[in-house]
Symmetry: C2
Subunit: 164 residues, 2 copies
């Protein structure tokens, strides 16, 4: 929220600029005296005149957001004079690309598992249904089947005609 | 690359500021006359004096990166006077959070599939190994087993001692 307690002491901007803080000061609502560094930063990077111009260009209800984004950019530029907050953008862009690649790979794995599971279910179904006649598990026996003519399994279902 | 062709015509900064472009002009290598808008943008947002100060604060080999990040920020602020490039940061941060959540969910699904597959393999192995004696598939027959004493399947392997 923009500060409304700028009646007693000058705002951080007017204090910094050593001037009288007048009623309706453009800076006062956004640079309360409690946060002197906020104005010092935007002044160092953008200059008071540019900040004032920018505030006058935007709607009053947008000014707080504008000041906060300017303060964010200014702090980032002071911390990293070469890249400023563009460094954060580059880092986030790399992070997005990495996550997207990781997500694509994981989705591919998941798709593979899903396909395998569908194939496994289909094969199990076919085995149970006896469609895969003569299929071997390589253990020297066949799975019994309701319709497997080779089957003579005591444990399985006997087709009535088989042994006649 | 920083421009080195600033001997004939004044750089974009000096042209904009209507001053003589001197040798070793701090702006000339980074603001060639072919790109007048680049300087116009940084001048509007940061001011020529602040850009000059910043360039003098960083090492010569870092100046091109510094100018490019300033130009990026300035252009973003002109396009979006309220958020500037902080708008891109917010958007990228939301994208990172969304992708991370999606990746976590996909990894969870994948883990579930992997667990299911391991359990399935274990169950299949137990069936083949005949550990699950008496297990039924609900189709009226048992899977044959090498060690299943109930088994008398012609198609399976007969334990030598079973029928003796």
């Amino acid at each position: 929220m923009a500060s409304s307690s700028y009646s007693n002491s000058p705002c951080a901007a007017c204090k910094f600029l050593r001037r009288k803080c007048m009623p309706y000061c453009i800076f006062a609502p956004y640079f309360p005296p409690e946060y002197p560094q906020k104005f010092a930063n935007v002044h160092k990077i953008f200059g008071a005149s540019n900040v004032s111009k920018l505030l006058n260009e935007v709607q009053p209800h947008q000014r707080e957001d504008a000041v906060n984004s300017l303060a964010y950019e200014a702090e980032a530029r002071i911390k990293d004079p070469i890249n400023g907050c563009v460094g954060s953008i580059s880092m986030l862009q790399r992070q997005v690309i990495r996550l997207q690649k990781e997500l694509d790979a994981t989705n591919e794995d998941l798709m593979q598992y899903t396909c395998n599971e569908i194939m496994q279910s289909t094969q199990d179904g076919r085995r149970i249904m006896g469609i895969e006649e003569g299929s071997s598990l390589g253990h020297g026996f066949y799975y019994p089947s309701l319709w497997n003519s080779d089957s003579n399994c005591e444990l399985g279902y006997h087709r009535g005609s088989d042994n006649n």
